[in-house]
Amino acid sequence: MNALGTYLIIAALLFSLGLLGVLQRRNLIGMLIAVELMLNGASLNFMAFNRFLAPEPAVGQIVTLFIMGLAAAEAAIGLSLILALFRKLRSINVERAQQLKG
């Protein structure tokens, strides 16, 4: 197995674990962390392809930097939403947040 394949498998594993976490966890913070895992899997893919296949080395790195920035922003917004939800429901269990109204 070549080096690229290894990286891709690891990235796929990361992504799958993240997906599993999003679907399975009931804790909103846990779901947020799982989403970060998925993003990291995607970033790893970009870096791997960039390292082994791309003629222009900068592109993949730039995309990854963007993803990191995005993830930071997403975490900030997500956490503030979770905080607001917690103030309202006194819980961060996603099963409690079933109604759009309120």
């Binding site: 997906l19 999003v22 679907l23 399975q24 009931r26 996603v94 099963e95 947040a97 079933q98 109604q99």
Partner: protein, 654 residues
């Protein structure tokens, strides 16, 4: 605009027929709150029209061919619909009649309508009417004629319902509108058939085609009969004649202008407008003759029993219109148009005189007017007598000449029954006209007094004799006297008018020559014994009618009851208008309301409403069903999303 000023005829016709519209617009937009300005604008516009009309008549009196200006208005495939002006003897004559009577009536209205809250509105509608009527008269194509025909109907509706707070007035307006519209449906269909079958609605072309019998017989008969429906509606012929008496709810000057002199004559005018076309279909002519005769006799009988001043003249208008239709249908083009002319004069006169009485005594009942001293209003009384004499066909008033002409035409038709019907009509006309006059002049008992001050009132009128009203009275008296003069003199212009109408520029010249022979023979060559017998019979019947009325209503000690009160059933029949209204009401209830309307209502309720309700129901129910899929769990949604994306990925991979 340069071309407009280069041709004085075009300028006159555009100015004369366009100004009233302008005046209506100005009154409605700017001067509604200023009655004085409104009436000044309207009257100056109609006076300009009058001057233009007289100028055109004088200028084109000896013209050798019809003058026509037109511009393409609508072009569809090979059907060209023009708009413009057609000036031939008939339209010039009618234009002059309309302008003259409009002007006189508008001046008269200054007095009659003084102080009315709707004064400006009244003048605006009058201007609308004058504009529509004049444009209808000079239309070069049947289509333009139809458009303005409808506009005239609108003006009539607005003016009948002028006192719209009054329930009966608004009902009468509606009745007139619906009845004439119903008839116009036939008119429009006739025109459409003509467009499809002939492809041209130009009046001169239609007359030409009628003269040369260029059209297939079937087409002419069907379209002529349908177009005649328009005449039935507009000129209040049998069986749609009941709207006209009801139209008397409008102000009296309106009745004088629209519902006797000009607008209702529009049907007869249209008939004579395309006379050669009608003449080429003997079946349509026979139908018209029958309808005219029935109308004339029925309306005369109705006039014999009513006590309402205006109703009498309304019925008499209907019957005289029937007389004109008879004359035209019997081929007497000139006689019909001539009677239209004289009738416009003396019937407007009669209505305007009645208006003075109604304005003075606030009552339409001839017995009340007589009792309250109607005979002390000398000027209107004399003028009304002049009008009634003309209506009865007594020499030397204008009605005498035109009635003789018509009877001459009828005498020449092979079937004598029309002549006898005409003579009977003449007798009844004289009877009911003078029944009214005698009621006013020789009041007797039989009417309860309405208030205690009656004697005092009477005294007041006797003292001042009605002359003390000054401005208002003279506003009304001057047009009346002018019309009375016209009525006295018009008859003597018969041969001049005949020469004009039958002249080289007339559209009907060749065909009418045939019909004119009928009249002409009786007139010119007919100095034979036969004509004199007819003349003598007609005049003696007219005088006989007057004498009969005198015996029953006028003479000292007369019961003022009339022979019909001895036959209560017949009187009831006449007074209820031969149950025509009941019949129409019944058929409306049974066929329209119970049949058509209820079917449409059912369609509306069941099918259209039901369909829309059904769609709503299915939408709601569908929403309910699909809402079960939505548990509100975030992660279920995510799972479905991932599964769907997974499926899409699988699809693209394999």
């Amino acid at each position: 605009m340069d071309w407009l000023f280069k041709d004085p005829v075009l300028l006159a016709v555009a100015l004369g027929t366009g100004l009233p519209f302008l005046s209506m617009a100005v009154i409605l937009i700017f001067t509604r709150g200023n009655p004085r300005a409104s009436c000044t604008i309207s009257i100056s516009a109609v006076c300009t029209s009058f001057v233009c009309a007289v100028y055109l008549l004088a200028k084109l009196f000896h013209a050798s061919a019809p003058v026509q200006y037109q511009t393409a208005w609508l072009l569809a495939d090979d059907v060209l619909i023009p708009f413009g002006y057609l000036l031939d003897p008939l339209s010039l004559l009618m234009l002059t009649i309309v302008a003259t009577i409009s002007m006189l009536v508008q001046i008269y209205s200054l007095g009659y309508m003084a102080g009315d809250p709707g004064f400006s509105r009244y003048y605006a509608f009058h201007s609308l009417f004058a504009w529509a009527m004049m444009n209808m008269v000079i239309a070069p194509s049947m289509f333009q004629l139809f458009i303005f025909w409808e506009l005239v109907g609108l003006a009539s509706y607005l003016l009948i319902g002028f006192y719209y707070e009054k329930y009966s007035a608004s009902q009468a307006g509606k009745k007139a509108f619906v009845m004439t519209r119903f008839a116009d449906l036939g008119f429009l269909m006739g025109l459409l058939i003509l467009v499809v079958g002939y492809g041209n609605l130009n009046i001169l072309d239609l007359c030409e085609a009628g003269k040369t019998h260029a059209l297939p017989n079937m087409l002419v008969t069907v379209s002529a009969m349908l177009i005649f429906c328009g005449v039935i509606g507009k000129s209040a012929q049998f069986p749609l004649l009941t709207w006209l008496p009801d139209a008397m709810e409008g102000p009296t000057p309106v009745s004088a202008l629209l519902h006797s002199a000009t607008m209702v004559a529009a049907g007869v005018y249209m008939f004579s407008r395309i006379f050669p076309f009608f003449a080429s279909s003997p079946d349509a002519m026979t139908m018209a003759l029958t309808i005219g005769t029935i109308t004339m006799l029925l309306a005369s009988t109705m006039a014999m029993v009513t006590y309402d001043l205006k109703q009498v003249w309304a019925y008499s208008t209907v019957s005289q219109l029937g007389f004109m239709v008879m004359s035209l249908a019997a081929g007497g083009y000139f006689a019909g148009v001539f009677h239209l002319t004289t009738h416009a004069g003396f019937k407007a006169l009669l209505f305007l005189c009645s208006g003075i009485f109604i304005h003075e005594f606030h009552s339409n009942d001839m017995r009340v007017i007589g009792k309250h001293g109607g005979r002390n209003l000398r000027i209107p009384l004399v003028c009304m007598t002049v009008g009634a004499l003309a209506l009865s066909g007594v020499f030397p008033f204008s009605g005498f000449f035109s009635k003789e002409a018509i009877l001459g035409v009828l005498a020449n038709s092979p079937n004598k029954i029309w002549l006898y019907a005409g003579l009977l009509g003449a007798l009844m006309t004289a009877y009911y006209s003078f029944r009214l006059i005698f009621f006013v002049v020789f009041p007797k008992g039989g009417v309860e007094e309405h208030h205690g001050h009656h004697g005092e009132d009477d005294h007041g009128h006797e003292e001042h004799g009605g002359e003390h009203h000054g401005y208002i009275f003279w506003c009304m008296a001057v047009p009346v006297m002018a019309l009375a003069t016209v009525t006295l003199l018009l008859g003597f212009f018969q041969s001049a008018l005949e020469g004009f109408l039958m002249g080289p520029s007339s559209a009907v010249q060749a065909v009418a020559a045939h019909g004119a022979h009928a009249g002409g023979e009786a007139q010119a060559a007919g100095h034979g014994a036969g004509h004199y017998v007819l003349l003598f019979t007609a005049v003696s019947l007219g005088l006989g009618g007057i004498f009969w009325a005198y015996m029953e209503f006028g003479r000292r000690g007369a019961a003022q009851e009339g022979f019909l009160s001895k036959l209560p059933q017949i009187q009831e029949l006449f007074a209820r208008r031969w149950y025509m209204d009941d019949f129409l009401r019944k058929s409306l209830d049974n066929f329209i309301y119970a049949g058509l309307t209820s079917a449409f209502t059912k369609n509306d309720r069941r099918i259209i409403d039901g369909g829309i309700d059904g769609i709503c129901f299915f939408t709601v129910a569908g929403g309910r069903v699909f809402s079960f899929l939505q548990s509100g769990m975030l992660q279920h949604n995510l799972l479905v999303m991932v599964a769907a994306v997974g499926l899409v990925v699988l699809y693209f991979l394999f």
